[in-house]
């Protein structure tokens, strides 16, 4: 039978070292908050990247001369289609447009109704808008719309083409894709208009997307395409996933440094606890022993005390992290993870976390703290407490 007096007494005795317990609870809460924020953000981004990568084209073919990407001739479509195992080759027109006033880059995508589904996350646009009406107008991502609104481009935006001409384009819609990280900085235009703004010649496109039904053949076909021309650069789905992962790993590394500093602080607190027990704590253990408590009962009450502190800190830290990441949108910390382009996308973290994330956070904080309390208490409990009580 559970001894409820132990549970009540454990809670009550927290008052004996109220200030110290409050300080430790504060440090623990902050640590849990940092750990869980990192885990929530990383699991959100991983989910996002996984979703994006699942809709990646099988192969992207572009042209690179002197390490610089150049536009590719449309003729390559037929050459690639001749390779066995290729189902389709779709030309893509896209590029970056620098908006100096806001100091950001927009991603321009040329899209016509006949090829609108080559980027699956943007499929919804096709359902929402009639591309025949697009002509000299555009659909913009949520983040782009906010920036243009701030710069007073409410209904129309003036692009400056490479020929130094102003091209006014009406904003006819805003979209928010399921994948906000992907679509946030995107501007969708008719292919011809996109080419004019990006300065792409008539028979050229930015790159080509190759569809391969048999995924096992992707690597072989990629090698064959590469052999068509030494200037051709071939990227497979795996290459792109790898690149995303590298960016994410780098960002995680930056955070890891921050995280290690906080872990270090936590271990200083823990080692301080392990190395010495305050006279108040010694006295508390000695009194319990003197009034007839056995060593295991003293350890048990210390376990309950520390478990209360650690658990409350863990729960509080988790709630703070949830609030910070999903309500405050991870302000400041998001820059570490997402600030890899000039464009600061208003990407919203989507809650996508399983129980293992909470379990990891729990096991790197609660048991360590509980042990840091129990071990010194045990040391005192097995000592001759006579001197402490006098």
């Amino acid at each position: 039978m559970i001894n409820r007096y132990f549970l009540e007494f454990g809670l009550t005795t927290l008052y004996i070292n109220k200030t110290k317990n409050l300080f430790i609870a504060g440090v623990l809460t902050f640590l849990v908050f940092l750990v869980m924020s990192f885990m929530f953000i990383s699991s959100s981004i991983k989910y996002e990247l996984k979703t994006v990568s699942s809709s990646m084209p099988d192969i992207i073919v572009s042209k690179t001369i002197a390490s610089k990407q150049r536009d590719i001739e449309l003729d390559y479509i037929y050459k690639i289609l001749d390779i066995k195992g290729v189902k389709d080759v779709i030309p893509r027109v896209w590029g970056f447009y620098r908006f100096d006033k806001a100091g950001v880059n927009f991603t321009i995508i040329g899209l016509d109704n006949f090829d609108y589904d080559y980027i699956k996350p943007l499929k919804r646009i096709a359902k929402l808008y009639n591309f025949n009406d697009l002509n000299s107008s555009m659909i913009v991502g949520e983040g782009v719309k906010k920036i243009l609104d701030k710069a007073y481009y409410k209904d129309e935006f003036s692009f400056i083409t490479p020929k130094n001409k102003i091209k006014n384009v009406k904003i006819i819609g805003e979209f928010d894709s399921d994948i906000s990280l992907f679509s946030n900085d995107v501007i969708v235009l008719k292919t011809a208009l996109a080419k004019e703004i990006l300065g792409i010649k008539k028979n050229y496109v930015t790159d080509l997307v190759v569809e391969v039904p048999n995924k096992d053949e992707i690597q072989t076909i990629a090698t064959k395409i590469k052999l068509l021309n030494p200037y051709i650069k071939v990227l497979t789905m795996d290459d792109i996933n790898q690149k995303y992962q590298e960016i994410f790993d780098y960002k995680s590394g930056v955070f890891l440094a921050l995280f290690l500093v906080s872990i270090f602080t936590f271990f200083i607190v823990v080692s301080e606890r392990l190395s010495g027990v305050s006279s108040e704590e010694k006295k508390e253990v000695a009194i319990l022993k003197a009034i007839g408590w056995k060593i295991d009962e003293i350890i048990y009450i210390k376990f309950i005390e520390s478990f209360y502190v650690a658990s409350i800190s863990f729960i509080l830290g988790c709630f703070l992290a949830l609030f910070y990441v999903y309500v405050l949108d991870g302000v400041y910390l998001r820059d570490i993870f997402l600030g890899f382009s000039d464009f600061k996308p208003s990407f919203e973290f989507v809650y996508h976390t399983d129980i293992s994330v909470y379990a990891v956070g729990f096991f790197i904080t609660v048991p360590i703290y509980v042990a840091s309390v129990i071990i010194p208490s045990w040391r005192v409990a097995v000592m001759d407490v006579d001197e402490v009580l006098r």
Partner: protein
Amino acid sequence: MIKIKNLYKNFKDKVALKDINLEINKGEVVVLKGKSGSGKSTLLSLISALSKPTSGEIIVADEFISKLSDNFASRFRLENIGIIFQKYNLFNQLTTFENIISPLIPLNPSKEELEVKVDKLLKDFDIEDKKEIKVKHLSGGEQQRVAIARSLINEPKIILADEPTANLDKNLSLEFINIIKNLKTKERTIIIATHDSLFFDLDFVDKVYELEGGELCF
């Protein structure tokens, strides 16, 4: 009730107790007198099994307590001994009630049983109105009564008091003496270590032992 044979206790090179032999019967009130550092508190500590002798035997309630392990010693104290410390050794941040019940917590008593016992003790020591007050807010005399109540909650056969009146004025000391007198009527064996002369000529005290330099003087 208590038999001590050839008891020695050393602290490193210092001899704290030397060849102590004494016998205390059930229901007796015994005063151990002596100056500070004479070994009174050390002897109480050994009788309560809070520390172990260097050599010799201590038999309390037919138990060789000098040979008990830490855990058995703790249970032995809980079942047989109530200790009143000079500095009370209460949990100051806790209430009177929480302090008094603290020895019984490991035994998981029923709530009703606990309430009855505590209420009786609070009434006996006239601190009923202090039940939910934190000990740190009580006066010295009230704190001592809480300490006595705590030492009696387990209904011990033996009560050990170490310099119980050291922090009390004369009136409160006399009040404490009355409490002890009352406890004697309940067949409790009481040992008081003190240098307070108020205890030396009390009619209900059965024996007075004097300790000097760790030795008993008769």
